[in-house]
Amino acid sequence: MRIKRVRIGAFGPFSEKVLELAPGMTVIVGENESGKSSWHAAIYAALCGMRRGAGRRSEDRDFIERHRPWDGDSWSVESTLELSDGREIELTNDLDGRVDCRAVDLGLGRRDVSSEIMFEGSPDASRWLGLDRRTFLATACVNQADVLFVLDNASALQEHLQRAAATAGADETAARGLALIDDFQREHVGLDRANSVKPLRRAVVREADAERSLEAANRAHDKYLVQLETVERLESEVGAAKRQLDVLTAAAAVRDAARASTKAERARMLTGELEGEQIELEAVQRATDRVSGAIAAWNAAPAPEPLVGPSSADLQRELSALPAAPIGDLLPARAVIDGDTAWRAARRALEAHSVAAPPQAQPVATSLSIAELRELARDMSVAVPVVDPELEQTHEELERRLAALPERRVSIPLLVAAAAISALSVGAGLLTTPVALIVGLLLGAGLVMLAVRNTLRDARAPLLVRLLDNESQLGQSRLAADGARNTISAAKATAAAAGLPSEPTGLMALAEEVERVTGVAERRRQWEAAYAEHERAAQNAASDLRAALTDRGLGAFTDFANAVNEYRTVCAARARLAEQASRRPQLERELETRRHAEAAAEAARRRHEAAKQGLAQAAQEQGLAPAVATTTAAALLEWQEANRERLARGERQARARGELDSLLAGSTLAQLANEAEEARRHTEATSADLPRDQVEARAAAAGLDAELANARADVASAHVAAAAARGELKQLSGASATVSGAEEELAAARGELERVRRLEATLSRTHEFLERAQERVHRDIAPVLEQTLDEWLPRVTGGRYTDASVDPEVLGVKVKDPAGNFRDAGLLSQGTLEQIYLLLRMALVKHLTKPGETSPLIFDDVTVQTDSSRTVAILDLLQEISRERQVIVFSQEEDVRRWAEDRLDRENNATLKLEVPPLAPIIHDQSSN
């Protein structure tokens, strides 16, 4: 796209002005107040128009305030564009009402093509570039402030790139957007953690609280309903209890009425019965009692029978004549009898033992035992073995023969040693173990073998061998004989020392004698021991018998037998006396019995007399003729029989009178009748609405009063229970939270939680998408920026910087210095940074512009703060850039004008000068003079 022409209808200080722009680079130079900024704004407004719609943004308001026509004319601008597809478009923008805003295709007869580029209600030609009026301003328009900002802030370049990548420079960077999301999430959502006070946690807690409240409200309501049912039930029970009480009360009334009626009737009957003769019941009873008493007394006191047997005096005399009971044993005591028996037996045993005494033993003079004597005898009898004479002969022969031969002395010590060892081993083997014997013999044999080996080399060897063998046998034979002799000698020596026979026979005989004497002595010892025992037993038996007799009262005695006989005689005498005295208790009992019998007989006689007198008196009282007692008794019985009916009648009268008095109880018959009538009327009143059969059944049942009392208690307790339940119900009624309220709060809490969770999900999703978009766009744009820098940087820096890298993550720019090191672009010289910045702006415009189109670049005083060389460098760069896209440069500098005039050809470029408009003449008001 290239802007060919801009026409101002009225804009800021200008009206009806036209600016023709070159397809390449157009430098527009003008001093301050020449309208550069106005033309810059007019070009922008002519291209992009202004947003049309309700409400104004602040930047719109600023733009309007700054660029509205000074003279109040209709604010409008036009532009003529050439698009990359060759179309020539005329844009008209009514910046006042924004009504007459349109784009027409001049090549198609001014066909309205506004719809292609409508944005925010009005045509925006930057839409053909894939931008919009905001992003075009941020991207394609470069002003002094932009450059200065980058130069003054090391991170501004990176931030600019990020902003451009994120929103084409119109808004925030993606990182800032992500940070805003994070901040918003932290503040308006927060974490669902226990100590958090942020909305999410609050909403969670609120929902939980609301759920609990609803649960509590439901529970309270259920409890209320249950209690309501309870109250209903209890009140129903009160009603039932009252009905029951009413029935019982009516039944009681029926019963009482019946009783009252019965009472009145009964009183009337009794009154009738008591008319006529009044019998004095007490007098009749007294007379009857007296007669009955006399008859009973007579019947109970018959004439007594005479007593038989010895009198009490006789028995007393007999008792006095009895002897006293003897003191002492009546029969011999067991201790005496047993003691006597034991004593006699002990005496007999002692005597028998004394008769059979054995003789005393005569001792034998020797200190040796029987075994020692016999051993000596054996030793003396040992056989002495005879040495074989052939062995001796052979020995002598061999010695002679050896003496005749030369000697090899070497072997002799060995033979001697062997012989000695053999002899020792035999002796050792005999005295100790066969092992020693075997070892010794083996050793001896070894030495012999050694000697034999040596000797075999000698001619004497065979003889030596034989000699050795012979000497061995001979030695053994002699040794045995010596041993036997030694044994015999030792035995004899021992016998001689002990003064014993020195021959075996004598010793054996002595041993037998010793054995015999020993036996005799032993038998005597045993007899003496038994005798002592018998003697002890006899003494003990005598002692026991003495003690027993002494205990029984016998004095001093010397002869046990006589003492025992005396004792037996005394016992017999006592026994006879005791038999006599034993009759005393019997006689005493007989005497007592007799005395009682005599007393009873006397009492019976007296009663009989009294009864007789009683009969006579009773008969006299009843007016009967005196007679003998039996006759009188019979007469009285007859009188008693005749009086029985009168007595009964009197009793009936008394009962009736008592009953009547009880029934009346101070009232009259008429009063009783009235009471009965009253009770009947009361019954009718209380039974009015009650089931008659029930009332009558209860009235007839037993225990009505108790039942009535229970019913009253039941009603009272039912009332109490119902009242308590009502009280509890009233308390439950006062529960603060209603179910509806709790449900509403829960709905609100859930709504809030849902809102927060939805917000959380939205923020999270948005973050995710934004982050991904940032990553992707940065990844796409970084190489584009790199490529542009790689292409242009060497050219504009004179080869000083040849390579660039752009970090796709944060769009940080580094360039490779001559040393080959990559350095952060923000840290380079201002001039290089400016160039890099302008190249990146160009790269961004190129990247962000829709493919197929090129966007013009508009620069406004971008070299004001640079020195001449840098200014030239920048202008050179812009000239380079203008080869591929339209570049419009506004500047107030003379250097720029000179450069343009020197360097720009007129074919594709242009240099324009803006003049400062003349001041309007000051018109003085003449009327003031």
Partner: protein, 365 residues
């Protein structure tokens, strides 16, 4: 024979869309509606006042509701008040019907089959009650009125063909078919359960007399009947509601600020009072940051307002933005292509574009 019929009052119901004070106030309005119904009954000198069930809500009623009902109906004594419990106020041991101290003019139908109540000679109302919150059978099944005079039905039930006209989620209770009414010998059935009013040939649903939710349509209220002995009748609906729950749509297209929206809302309300759901519709400028404090100022004369912004969209030129080779463009492209629900997509887009725009109000309301 003249009678006034109503149903589905739903005393003590919950209003999840309202704040606590507003909900409580609306429940009071329902009580005022019942008083108004009783006033109308007196004014119109009816022979009976009938209620087709759901008079209150068993799971939510408060302790003084029983006293309120008893005293309200006692005030019209000796006018017969016939009550047929429904599925929300089913007759159980702890229901108000069983525990309240009714005045003698109140008759509560006790059984789950139609039982007669002679309003006057020759006119019998056959009523039945729900004795459980669900699974109540057709009251008209195997029933035939036998009074020999003018027989009317009074019960809470679902006429099968009317279920489709009801809001989604309405469950059938004691379902029956319209033809069963005349087959049962009833001249007319005075019903309850459906909140949307229905004037059928053989039956009438009066509708809930006091609004319970926003956007209720139809002429709801109490219905005044005049029955002739031959069974013909006239029917007139009487509005008894004490409040209104209206839905007011406001076009806020093009609004760039909360004030713009506020002005349009104020213009749309035009002095309306009561409770309203204000639905904001249209595409608004991206610069708009909706401030509900400003909006509530515009609606300060209302008893309560609920704002619905689901129809509001932010007018980003997404097609233009997605064509940018910027992070913003890539972001919009990715979000538009992602398999998201429409609402979520809108929220993500607006949130991301606002964040890139440096705005701190990132919650899309």
């Amino acid at each position: 024979m003249r009678l006034l019929h109503f149903a589905d009052l739903h005393l003590d119901t919950a209003f999840s869309w309202a704040q606590a004070s507003v909900a409580s106030g609306h429940r009071q309005a329902i009580r005022a509606t019942l008083r108004r119904i009783c006033e109308v009954a007196r004014e119109e000198r009816v022979d009976a006042l009938t209620c087709g069930g759901d008079l209150y809500e068993q799971e939510r009623y408060t302790a003084d509701t029983a006293e309120f009902l008893a005293s309200t109906f006692a005030d019209v004594h000796p006018l017969p008040v016939l009550l047929a419990p429904g599925n929300h106020d089913w007759l159980g041991p702890s229901s108000i019907y069983a525990t309240a101290r009714w005045s003698p003019n109140v008759h509560v139908f006790q059984d789950d089959h139609l039982e007669p109540f002679e309003v006057r000679a020759g006119v019998t109302v056959w009523g039945a009650s729900h004795r459980a919150p669900a699974n109540t059978d057709d009251f008209l099944h195997d029933f035939h009125a036998r009074s020999g005079g003018l027989d009317l039905g009074l019960f809470h039930g679902s006429e099968r063909s009317g279920l489709l006209q009801q809001p989604q989620g309405k469950e059938p209770h004691a379902g029956f078919s319209a033809y069963e009414i005349s087959a049962a010998g009833l001249v007319h059935a005075l019903l309850g359960h459906y909140h949307a009013p229905i004037d059928g040939v053989d039956y009438t649903y009066p509708g809930n007399p006091e609004p319970l939710s926003f956007g209720e349509d139809g002429d709801r209220g109490a219905v005044l009947f005049d029955f002739a002995q031959d069974g013909t009748f006239t029917r007139r609906r009487i509005r008894v509601a004490q409040s209104a729950l209206d839905v007011i749509d406001v076009d806020v297209s093009g609004s760039a600020s909360s004030q713009d929206v506020c002005d349009r809302v104020a213009a749309a309300l035009g002095g309306y009072k009561g409770i309203a759901r204000v639905c904001l519709r249209g595409e608004v400028e991206p610069s708009l940051s909706l401030d509900f404090a400003v909006l509530h100022y515009a609606t300060k004369d209302l008893d309560f307002v609920q704002f619905d912004t689901q129809g509001m969209r932010t007018a980003y030129d997404l097609e233009a933005i997605r064509a940018e080779k910027t992070v913003r463009g890539q972001f919009v492209l990715d979000v538009l292509d992602a398999p998201l629900e429409a609402d979520e997509r809108h929220r993500v887009l607006v949130t991301g574009l606002r964040a890139l725009g440096g705005r701190a109000d990132l919650e899309v309301i």
